[in-house]
């Protein structure tokens, strides 16, 4: 991993609060694997002080992409960057999704949680049988469905909470059927905490390998400040940034 000043090659609004930023870095784009993330400086000043974590959405060396939602001050500042602006980036950070071959993998994405999954789907769909469940609040929050459909996917299911544009439902609505139908033995998921809680209830005890990519509020992003912890099922804290962000579902102590 490295700390670099990178050129913003593009920063485009996709829809509503959602943006795609193309950043130039030979190093990061070549070293990154699905699951990795970067810490991005949103201002060149002391306020806001902390860099913000974003999953790697896609690589195309010497470029990599982040797909982000504007939710607060930092992401808003990021959205205001223009082509040719420079941003400080640290990365690639964190661990990665395990690399499988010839498995029946189900991806489960909630909202902007699709970001690290997109990269994994692109990379793993050739060598595995892949299915996808992807849900969000409304069709305004469910982006890249057309692009995703272009990958060789066995089954895809899109949901919106309010039924706009796609099937009304949650990512868990038909998950057991989809798992059975496709002989799924591995899942990779990323989304809001509530989604993980439901996922854990639904599929936590099916005896398949479930991997989750977590979010946490981060200080450093590389394991030294001990601020991004989640409680593990063994009662010990784990650092999301360096022990994760990818964990086996059973490693985490879920609320429910």
């Amino acid at each position: 991993m490295k700390e670099e000043e990178c050129r913003v090659a593009a920063n485009t609004i996709i829809q509503g609060r959602y943006y795609l930023m193309k950043i130039e870095s030979a190093y990061i784009s070549e070293k990154s694997k699905p699951g990795n993330f970067v810490m991005v400086a949103v201002s060149g000043s002391n306020d806001p002080l902390l860099k913000r974590p974003f999953g790697i959405f896609k690589i195309d060396p010497p470029y990599f992409y982040i797909y982000y939602e504007v939710v607060g001050r930092g992401s808003k500042l990021l959205a205001s960057k223009k082509e040719e602006d420079r941003v400080m980036v640290v990365g690639p950070l964190g661990n990665v999704f395990p690399e499988y071959e010839n498995e029946n993998i189900l991806f489960v994405g909630g909202g902007r949680g699709i970001a690290p999954l997109y990269f994994a789907i692109e990379k793993y769909s050739g060598s595995n049988n892949i299915s996808l469940i992807y849900g969000a609040r409304s069709k305004e929050d469910l982006l890249f469905t057309e692009e995703l459909k272009k990958f060789p996917l066995k089954e895809t299911a899109f949901y919106t909470d309010d039924g706009s544009g796609f099937t009304k439902g949650l990512v868990t609505t038909d998950i057991k059927e989809i798992i059975n139908r496709n002989g799924i033995n591995v899942t990779f998921s990323c989304g809001p905490d509530k989604m993980f809680e439901s996922l854990n209830e639904e599929i936590g005890s099916l005896g398949i390998r479930n991997f989750v990519s977590l979010e946490a509020f981060m200080g450093c992003g590389f394991g030294i400040c001990y601020s991004c912890v989640v409680k593990g099922s063994d009662g010990k804290y784990k650092k999301v940034c360096s022990d994760g962000p990818v964990f086996r579902m059973e490693e985490i102590k879920w609320q429910t």
Binding site: M1, N46, L49, G223, C225, S227, V229, Y237
Partner: protein, 303 residues
């Protein structure tokens, strides 16, 4: 080219920049970013006797140009640390400082003794000023008598140079610093974090389970600089200045205020290569201002 050597009396450092405890992990984590030999020294994350998990999250909160933290000294315990120290010491010749914590006098002593015998440890830093462990942010560094007692106890039972880290959350820092000096401290490091509060309006709750948390980062620099000046004028042992250092200019300001060296904290969290940048900036600024060495300006304020 200016001479960056920082003289602490009992040791000469190749430069005055020392990453601070809790913001530099155990050092090894930074090897992926730069060679640790570039640093003047570095301080490991604070350690107790036993393995600790630390506080319930959230543990940090961003404030304007600052960072509140309530990490709660998560760590492997003193015995566990010895292995980590050996490992990183095999990868660098830069002096390693261990940040010694304790819930009681006995614990301070025990931790200090375990680390005192390690040849890989250059100095001990006695952390009597952590605001994130006891209720209400209290710590020995808030009273002259507690400071004197703990420092004396540890100093009398250890061999290594002893740096005593003080808290800014006191009204008369000078007298506390003098107590530490009288009790045998070889150097003083100030400041640890300032007590602050963050509230969550939505939940109508404090952000941190421990209620108060410690403020660090550039926001505190003017406050820290004042305290370092006061301490440097109160004692004759070397002072290590800490608080919001982000640039080479900041380093020279602390030296001018009387510090013999500095510690960089939050900057390591927000910018992994920050301490190395700060070292080059210090050198450049010294050359620009024709300052040959740090002693030339240390405490040399014209008033």
């Amino acid at each position: 080219m200016a001479d960056l050597t920082a003289d602490l009396g009992f040791i000469k450092l190749k430069n005055p920049v020392i990453p601070a405890s809790g913001t530099f992990g155990y050092g090894g984590e930074f090897l992926q970013f730069f060679d640790l030999d570039l640093l003047g020294a570095f301080v490991m994350k604070g350690v107790y006797t036993d393995e600790r998990g630390g506080n319930e999250p959230p543990r940090i909160w961003e404030t304007p140009s600052g960072l509140l933290n309530s990490i709660g000294l998560a760590g492997p315990g003193a015995e566990g640390l010895t292995k980590i120290i050996k490992d990183v010491a095999s990868k660098t010749s830069t002096p390693i400082i261990v940040n010694v914590c304790g819930g009681t006098d006995e614990e301070y002593l025990e931790v200090a003794r375990i680390l005192d015998v390690m040849k890989e440890v250059a100095m001990l830093e006695l952390n009597i000023s952590c605001p994130n462990v006891r209720a209400g942010g209290s710590c020995p560094a808030q009273s002259s008598s507690d400071t004197r007692r703990v420092v004396k106890l540890v100093k009398e039972n250890t061999e290594k140079p002893l740096i005593v880290k003080l808290s800014p959350n006191v009204s008369d820092i000078s007298s506390i610093a003098r107590s530490a000096e009288e009790a045998g401290a070889d150097a003083i490091s100030v400041v640890n974090t300032f007590l602050g509060l963050a509230l969550d309006i939505e939940k109508r709750k404090p952000v941190f389970k421990n209620f108060f948390a410690g403020l660090s980062g550039p926001a505190i620099k003017p406050l820290a600089l004042k305290i370092v000046w006061e301490v440097a004028n109160a004692v004759s042992i070397p002072v290590i200045g800490i608080g919001g250092i982000m640039t080479g200019r900041d380093v020279l300001e602390f030296i001018l205020a009387g510090a013999a060296a500095v510690q960089t904290g939050t900057v390591n969290i927000v910018e992994p290569t920050g301490s190395v940048r700060i070292i080059s900036e210090t050198l450049e600024l010294m050359d620009e201002l024709k300052i040959n060495n740090l002693e030339e300006i240390r405490g040399g304020l014209k008033i």
